[in-house]
């Protein structure tokens, strides 16, 4: 094996912050190289240096690619050499076809400089076959799911004669099936001599697929582990990432469930624009005070749709069913009504649905409770700051003041702001949708601790999550959803990843 890439003592500073300090990275040709580190450790910055997003001259250090020193001035330069980066947020145009997206910026021209559509579509079809995607080249990308879009990004990279493929959190938004498929594809590409660098938080995937792993912490290289030789475990990687042993990834917790707080019966939701499509089908579940209940389900099972339709009908059409709060039937036809009944919903996509990123922490925390802070329509600004300050301290939001913009916080701290916002509405029921998505191991632990604290205060908590270990680690009871239906519930003691997965994939029984 020869070395394809060598980054030598890379240092990158932003005003006031040293994002990378003497980072070294050596990648062998034809391997899958994982990069691990907490959020903010500098992984993405390093990849931006490599791909030319931060051009040569804005950092110190040397990059050797295929043995020669390179100085990229832009992404185009690095792509010319065969380095392609696929970002976490996919960069596809939803209204263009698969083929158009694959060759966007690299159009296949024929006579007279006009686009040769036959060649474009034919080559796209070949690339789709290579990534194992059974779709027509003329299908608009917007009609495909995230998993398939990810594959199109890879097809696009292949069309550029990629030698080194960089994937930033490729499976973060994928369900288990799609993730598995993607990892398999990476293995195939490896067999064809394509080197991959993969940034990921999913340690089980890294353990499964990576040949070597470089761990970055606080902008410095900590170590590079040879996954094959060293017999590296997930715990070993975590130790490198956080610099300490996380004996338990989940804080110990004993729940003492009280009376039943929320009960949902026969909840049926239809798709907002296709009214004959049933998204949630006769779902029933309940939560007791002080209990943490999980909802497991594959992507598309209707988890978020169930939660949002309950929360003021913010999703769906033709919603039917009954909701009981402490035995009394309530209506939750608007968000206002839902909040009024003590229901809170923290969204899975905090940037899009949870926060006003251009406003400060204070404004975001008070956003759902202005009524409480106001008299005759006038907001008590001082009281508001005091409340926000209290939450900043009690939730350990890392920011010097509550006047800092929400958009400037890290994922974990943003999530704490979202949680503060909902806790301040003083809810009886908290529905947390993917509460730890995209945040690092340390912050996850903090979020779990907060969830436990809330349960101890007697709140009824519903956690929706794609990560089964997380549900198994913090929930007292787990419901499974499949194709919009509740297919089962398991108490903590009986649930395993296997038993949950079986229920999550259960097809409709001879309907």
């Amino acid at each position: 094996m020869s070395t394809i890439l060598e980054m030598q003592s890379i240092t990158k500073t932003f005003p006031g912050v040293k994002a990378l300090q003497d980072v070294n990275l050596v990648v062998e040709r034809g391997e899958i190289h994982a990069i691990c580190g907490e959020n903010g450790a500098g992984k993405s910055t390093l990849m931006k240096v490599l791909s030319g997003v931060y051009p040569h001259g804005t950092y110190d250090g040397r990059i050797l690619f295929e043995g020669e020193e390179v100085a990229f001035g832009s992404i185009n330069d690095s792509e010319d050499k065969g380095i392609v980066i696929i970002h976490q947020e996919l960069a596809l145009v939803p209204y263009l076809s698969v083929a158009e997206n694959i060759f966007l910026g690299n159009e296949q021209r024929g006579a007279g400089g006009l686009i040769d559509w036959n060649r474009t579509n034919a080559e796209a079809a070949q690339l789709l076959a290579r990534v194992g995607l059974d779709e027509l080249p003329v299908t608009p990308v917007g009609q495909l799911g995230v998993g398939k879009q990810q594959l199109i990004e890879i097809a696009k990279a292949l069309s550029k004669k990629v030698k080194l493929l960089i994937l930033d959190e490729p499976t973060a938004a994928l369900n288990d099936n799609d993730s598995e498929h993607l990892l398999e594809l990476l293995r195939q590409l490896k067999d064809h001599g394509i080197t991959s660098i993969m940034i990921s938080h999913k340690l089980n995937e890294i353990a499964e697929i990576a040949d070597s792993t470089t761990i970055i912490r606080d902008g410095k290289t900590i170590e590079t582990l040879d996954m094959l030789r060293d017999g590296v475990t997930q715990e070993r990687i975590i130790r490198g990432m956080v610099g300490r042993d996380l004996e338990h990834r989940y804080p110990p917790h004993e729940s003492t469930p009280g009376e039943e707080v929320l009960r949902v019966e026969d909840w049926t939701v239809h798709h907002p624009t296709q009214p004959d499509r049933v998204v949630v089908d006769n779902a029933s579940f309940s939560v007791r005070a002080g209990e943490i209940v999980g909802i497991a389900g594959l992507m598309g099972a209707g988890r978020t749709e169930l939660a949002m339709s309950l929360f003021g009908r913010t999703y769906g059409s033709d919603i039917r069913g009954r909701v009981y709060l402490r035995g009394e039937e309530i209506r939750t036809r608007s968000v206002d009504e839902a909040i009024g009944h003590g229901i809170a919903y923290a969204t899975e996509d905090r940037k899009k649905y949870g926060l006003n990123l251009i406003e400060d922490i204070r404004t975001n925390i008070s956003a759902a409770s202005l009524r409480k802070l106001s008299r005759l329509g006038f907001v008590n600004g001082n009281e508001e700051i005091k409340v926000a300050e209290d939450y900043r301290k009690s939730m350990n939001i890392k920011s010097p003041t509550v006047m800092a913009l929400a958009g400037k916080l890290s994922g974990g701290n943003q999530q704490k702001v979202v949680l503060s916002k909902w806790i301040y509405t003083d809810p009886d029921v908290l529905i947390l949708d993917e509460p730890t998505r995209g945040i690092d191991v340390g912050a996850k632990y903090e979020i779990y601790t907060i969830i436990n604290r809330l349960a101890d205060q007697g709140k009824a908590i519903v956690v929706i999550s794609s990560e089964l270990p997380e549900l198994l680690g913090i929930c007292d009871r787990i419901y499974t959803l499949a194709f919009g239906r509740v297919t089962g519930q398991l108490p903590r003691g009986e649930a395993t990843q296997e038993s949950l997965m079986e229920l999550m994939t259960k097809e409709r029984e001879n309907a």
Binding site: G16, K352, G377
Partner: protein, 393 residues
């Protein structure tokens, strides 16, 4: 270390808004020199106030519309329509002046409700709704006026935009009453600032040092009193300035201190997050446009009063001046950011520039070009700032 970061954050946050004040002072300075001080003469200052009051009134409503992420292209036509209605009521029917004002305001509210309905409840983008409104209300103006201008208004109506309060307390070369009113206003401002400061201290918030606080107040008082003195040496306190002052104060409070104002910013900043936080988005959007209609009617009354009549083509292009004032004043093109005070300064920047160039006898064509470039540069500055803030992350 953290305190420094906090300070830096406050500075970058405020650069967008404070930059505009610096630009304003610079432009005043520039034109004062270019016009040999004519710009700041008592008569001219009074003129600027009278000449741009209706644009500033429109900009108050417009900035709220823009913060919520909308736009209103129809305000020029609404100014014409409401002025025409007032003219028909007062001039044609011979009703008293206040009936004309009430009729104009009622029409403004109706127009606002109409546009608010389409934007908020039907969900048509405001750009389209108000583009349609621009044509619709211009056509209505022609209908109401039957294609001819109406004038003159009785003296009482003319006083709204052309009248002055002076001589009540006598004066020698300057009007004492004007100075007293301004002095009271400054005292009130200083008192409210002091109370806000005390409250912040009580809640253990950071405040600027007391000498700095006093210096700031003294500086503001000096500038305002100088302005008042110039007014008092001319014709005294313009009635329209009182209207404008009350509106600015009221809407400054509405945007910064009320739940409604918070919701406007929330909608513009992140519509989905606002919805999921229980903000009644449709209702808020509806009232934003009703309010815009109301303020357009106020501007219509002031404009018709100042021009002493109603013309079919009144208020042409006013919408663009009002929109420009907001953007120069730091409002964001994507919503969520903006201030009433910023929009006022933005409007005054345009006003001072126009007025200064008029005094210098610069051709109308050049004036337009300069105004266009200033708008472009202001928004470019805004985007540059945003990018820098983004890169610092």
């Amino acid at each position: 270390m953290t305190a420094v970061a906090g300070l830096k954050d406050i500075f970058t946050r405020n650069l967008r808004t404070s930059g505009i004040y610096i630009a304003f002072v610079a432009i005043i300075g520039l034109f004062t020199i270019l016009t040999d001080g004519m710009l700041l003469s008592p008569g001219n200052i009074t003129n600027i106030v009278l000449q741009y009051s209706y644009i500033l009134i429109l900009a108050i409503g417009m900035v709220i519309v823009i913060i919520a992420g909308h736009i209103d292209l129809s305000v020029g036509s609404v100014v014409a329509l409401t002025g025409a209605v007032a003219a028909v009521v007062v001039i044609k029917n011979g009703s008293p002046w206040w009936l004309g004002v009430l009729a104009a305001l009622a029409v403004g509210l109706l127009v606002g409700a109409w546009q608010g309905f389409w934007v908020a409840f039907v969900g048509i983008p405001a750009f389209i709704v108000t583009l349609a409104g621009m044509l619709l209300f211009r056509g209505m103006t022609l209908q109401v006026l039957e294609n001819v201008s109406l004038s003159p208004f009785p003296a009482a109506y003319q006083k709204i935009a052309g009248g002055f309060l002076n001589g009540i307390l006598g004066g020698n070369g300057f009007d004492v009453f004007t100075l007293v009113i301004f002095a009271i206003a400054i005292a009130g401002y200083a008192f409210s600032q002091l109370r806000a400061r005390q409250a912040r201290i009580k809640y253990q918030q950071a405040v600027e040092s007391f000498p700095l606080f006093v210096l700031k107040l003294v500086l503001i008082a000096a500038v305002v009193m100088a302005f008042a003195y110039q007014l008092s040496r001319s014709r005294g306190l313009p009635i329209v300035l009182i209207i404008l002052g009350v509106l600015i104060l009221a809407y400054q409070i509405v945007t910064t201190k009320t739940v409604f104002g918070r919701h406007v910013y929330a909608i513009g900043g992140n519509l989905h997050a606002a919805e999921l936080s229980g903000v009644k988005v449709k209702k808020i959007n509806f009232w934003i446009f009703v309010n815009m209609g109301f303020l357009a009617a106020v501007a219509g009354v002031v404009y018709s009063s100042r021009s002493n009549g109603a013309q079919p083509q009144a208020g042409n292009m006013f919408e663009l001046d009002a929109i420009a004032a907001c953007f120069i004043g730091g409002a964001s093109t994507t919503g969520g950011v903006g201030r009433v005070t910023g929009a006022m300064v933005g409007g005054l920047i345009m006003g001072v520039m126009s007025n200064g160039m008029q005094l210098m006898g610069i051709d109308q064509s050049v004036q337009q070009m300069v105004k266009g470039l200033v708008l472009l540069l202001a928004v470019a500055f805004d985007i540059y700032n945003k990018r820098r803030a983004g890169a610092a992350r």
